[in-house]
Symmetry: C2
Amino acid sequence: MGLALAQAQAAGARGEVPVGAVLLAPDGTVLAQDGNRTEAACDASAHAELLVLRAAAARLGSPRLPGCTLVVTLEPCAMCAAAAAAFRVARLVFGAYDPKGGAIEHGARIFQTQGAIHHPEIIGGVRETEAAALLQDFFKRLR
Amino acid sequence: MGLALAQAQAAGARGEVPVGAVLLAPDGTVLAQDGNRTEAACDASAHAELLVLRAAAARLGSPRLPGCTLVVTLEPCAMCAAAAAAFRVARLVFGAYDPKGGAIEHGARIFQTQGAIHHPEIIGGVRETEAAALLQDFFKRLR
């Protein structure tokens, strides 16, 4: 989560919403790390999670990432939560909870949907205060 | 939808699940068209919908596509439905319903979630029989 927080900080410095993510191989090796790039990439899907999922899959040469762990500083939205399922990650670790945009413990509750096929292990609230502070500072500066 | 069906057919011929999508500008111009590429691209997020959303946004130089229409041969999954919201498309037109993986009228019901901010106009079942037949033929051949 330290690496993900550093990526979030770097995203904020680029003027992007400060969310960062890391994708870990089953043995803990870092396969990919990145932060939000929606504005710079002109791509509303360029959330940190999707970027590291795609980068890790490209690196491994497989559209699926069994045994891998996705670490992200903010509770994923429905797009990224469903993407984590599509890539078949084994574990999802996130920092701050997002009652407005999150889709794990809020909103669409992707993994609690009837018929959801893939159920990664989920650990929320890891270094929550730091992850939330980055976002609060960013939006405070915008206002 | 005719263009989307042709893209679905082409995807099937490449050995991909035959789903195709088209992204239309507010004036009806085709901004992007593509089919599933999850296997070839080693990218579980390379669904037809995400590919055309990203391509159209890149073409327009904006992460958002207000006034645009996403046409796809199959009811989008949660990832693609939430992506359509993230890209702020005005209209979502789909062919076959997908009781197993769909997230518009089934599963996560992305746009019916409490707190969903973006609500595109939704038209389902357009040339449903043709879109469904492509998928049925594909999976019949796999067995």
